[in-house]
Amino acid sequence: MNQQRRNVMRITAALGAAFAAGILHPRDVFAAEWNAAVFDAKSLAAAVKALGGDKFDVSADVAIIGPDIAENGAVVPVSVSSKAPGTDFMAILVDKNPSAMSASFNIPPGTEPAVTTRVKMASTSDVHALCRANGKWLVASKEIKVTLGGCGG
């Protein structure tokens, strides 16, 4: 075996040992799995189930900010935020879209549980901010009216 192959073996073994020892957690190195079941869910309740939850509560600690009327359904700015302690996961769902889940965010310690992005809305719909805080699922919703649908269909 030449030197290069010895090096590869050594590094692989070291990484493997680190994973096994829990020093290097896979979560640190690899991005979150894109879960098809979650992104295929047709409703908020189905998405929570696909995420491993079962019930969710409306909470005043979660806020969703967006326009009352979106002129262009292709680009609707939405902000979601949570004051609930221990928020480690947030998601934006658009009820009447072909798939309800738009985007989800893992929030590590040190990052504020507040994100803003832009989503497509097929038609007037409730938009939900879904958060997980200390294992509990919390929701806030807002109806956004859409004059020009954004899925191009």
Binding site: P77, N106, P108, G110, T111, T117, R118, G150, G152
Partner: protein, 103 residues
């Protein structure tokens, strides 16, 4: 290698606000072209933001995130001059990493 993103990371007090504008068509797979054929889905599905070596945001996007995705978030613990890097990966396996310094 996808199109470059624009990243702004600004420090106010102890909080860094990051704004990113990515360039990506974010095709849903539901649109039809002029001939009536479905344009295949092709969208950013994952984004990882790091401050130096620490992950500060890990996002999964679906096709209903708008074209040319915009994202804004805040984290604590950054100092002026530190690097913030953003990496996205799309459903075709393409990816892009850009970085910016905190100002």
């Amino acid at each position: 290698m996808g199109n470059p993103m624009r990243i702004r990371a600004s420090l106010t007090g102890d909080t860094v606000e990051v704004k990113v504008l990515m360039r990506h068509d974010m095709e849903t797979g539901l649109r039809k072209d002029a001939a009536g054929a479905l344009i295949p889905a092709l969208f950013i599905k994952n984004l990882v933001a790091k401050h130096k070596d620490k992950v500060v945001l890990d996002a999964n996007f679906g096709p209903s995130v708008s074209k040319d995705p915009f994202l804004s978030f805040k984290f604590k613990g950054g100092a002026a001059g530190d690097k913030v890097s953003i990496t996205w990966t799309d459903t075709a396996g393409d990816s892009r990493t850009d970085e910016a310094s905190i100002t």
